[in-house]
Amino acid sequence: MFRYAVARLLGAIPTLFALVTIAFFLVRLAPGGPFDDERQLPPEIEANLQRAYNLDAPLTSQYLRYLGDLARGDLGPSFKYKDYSVAELIATGLPATLRIGLSALVVAVLAGVFCGAVAALRRNGWVDRVVMTLAMTGIAIPNFVVAPALTLLLGVYLRLLPVGGWGDGAFRFLILPVVALALPKIAYVARLTRGSLAEVLGSPYIRTARAKGLRGTTILVRHAARAALLPVVSYLGPTAAALLTGSVVIEQIFGIPGLGRYFVQGALNRDYTLVLGIVLFYGTLIILLNLLADLAYGWLDPRVRYD
C-alpha cells in the first residue's frame, strides 16, 4: 500500500508542474502580447506585473521567480480590488465554495449509490426502468438549466425555499444550489452503481456466498458492496473536479459569495491576476482530490496494492 501511495504521489508532481508551467506561459504570452488598446492596465498594476514577472529578465529566471512566489503563497495583487491580494480574495471566497462543493459531493454519492443500488436489486423491474430513465435525462440536462427551473418551482411558485443569496450561510440557502449542482452527478453515479452492482451480483462468488447460507443483507454489504463501489470510487476524482467546475456557474446563478463568483467577476473585469490565481487554486485542488480518490481506490482493492 505504501509503495502504491508513494507512486501516486510522485505521479501528481509532474501534473502540478504542468499546471503551473502552462499557466505561467499563458500569462507570459498575454500582457504585452497581442492586445487591443482598450485594455489599459492601471499603471501601478502594470509596474507590479512587470516587476513580478520580471518581463525583462531571461525566461528561466522569470519562471523560477514565479515558482518562488507561488511557494510563498504570493499570487500577486488583484487588478480590480486594489486593496486586496489574490490570496486574500481566495481565502474569502473559499469557505462558501467548499461548503457547497463538499455537500454536493456527499449528496451525489449517497443519493446516486442508493438509487443505483435499488435499481440493481430490482433489476429489469419497473423501479429499475424508471430510475435509469430519470438518470439518463439527468445526465443530459445541464445544471445551469436545472437550477433556474428548480428555483422557479420551489422558490417562486411554491415558496418553499429562498430564491438565492447566502444570508448567514444557513442551511436553507444551501439546499437549492447543492441539489442543482449535484443532480447530474447523482444521475451518473446511479447509472454507474446500477451497472456495477448488477454485474457483481451475477458473479460466481456471490453464488458461493448464497450457497453458504448467508443472508441477503450480509451478502450485499460484506461481499457485493466493495466490488460494486470500486467504479464509483475511481470516478470520485473526476466527479469532484466536475462539481468544482460546475459550482462556478451555480454560485453565479444563486449569488453565492464563493470562489466561483470572484472567478466570473474577475473574468468579466479582465482581472488577470485574480483569474489566474483562482485557476491555479482550482487546479491544485482538483489534482489533490484526484490523488485522494486514487489512494482510496488502492485501499479498497487489495489486488492493486500488491502490484
Binding site: 498575454a30 445551469f144 437550477a147 422557479l152 472567478f263 473574468a267 482550482y282
Partner: protein, 297 residues
Amino acid sequence: MAGWIRGCAMTDAVLPRSPGGRAWARLRRNPTAVAAMIVLGVIAGLCIVGPWVIPHSYDAVSWENILTAPDWSSGHWFGTDPNGRDLLARTLVGGRISLMVGLVASLVSLVIGVSWGAVAGYTGGRVDGVMMRIVDILYALPFMFFVILLMVYFGRNIVLIFVAIGAVEWLTMARIVRGQTLSLKRREFIEAARAIGVPGLTIVRRHIVPNVAGPVIVFLTLTIPEVMLIESFISFLGLGVQEPMTSWGVLISEGAQNIEEAPWLLAFPGTCLALTLLCLNLLGDALRDALDPRDGR
C-alpha cells in the same frame, strides 16, 4: 398479411457482411436509437433552414414587444426577449451556433486525438511511452478553467472557441485510438501487408483506419454533447460568443435572469439543449451496443 410481414423480417442470411453494415442494421432495429436520430435530424434541420423561413429575424429589436409570452397569432411562437427580439428565431440561430461549435470542436479533437494516438500506438517504444505520459499528465488538469483563461486573455472570437474546446477533448480520443492501434498492430494481416511491401501510409489508410473507426465514431457521438455543454457553460458566464450572435448557452443565461417574469425564455432554449444532449447520449450508447453486441447489460 402476416405472411408478408414474416417475409420482410431480416434474417441473418440477409444481413450485410461488412462490420459497418451489420452495425448499421443493428442500430436501425433499436427503437431508441432511431427515435434519437429522428429528433436530432429534425432539430438540426429546423436550425439550419428555419431562420430563412420564419417571418421574424433573430436580431430585430422591437421596443413595443418586450417580453411577450408565446402567442400563435402574433407569429412569436416562442415569445420575445427583453429586447423584443423573437425567441423562436433566436433559438434556431442559437442552435446553429451551438451545433456548429459542437461539431467543429469535436472534429478538432478528433483530428488531434487520432493523430496523436495513431502515431503513439504505431511507433511504440519510448516515443509511445512519452506521448502517453504527456496525455496522463494533461488529463488531470482542469481544462474548463484553461478555456476560460484563454477567453479572458485572448478575447472572444469564434475560432478560438473551436480550438480551445477541441483541444480539451482530444485526450480520451488519443487514448482510445492508441489502444486500438496497439492491438491492431499485432494482428497478422498487418504483418502480411508489410511483408508484401504495402507502404506504411496505405496500411494506415486501408487497414488501421477502418478498424479504429468504430470506437472513434462512438466517442465522437459522445464528445459532441460534452463540447456543447462546455460552450453553453462559457456562454452562460458571458465569455462565449459575442452579440449579436447567440447560442443556446447565451439564451439560457438570459432566460435564467428573467425566470420569474418570462419563464419561456429559459424553457425553450433549455429544452432544446437538453433534448439534443439527451438524444446524442442515447445515440452514442446505442452505437456502442451496435458496434459490439457483446457489450452492455
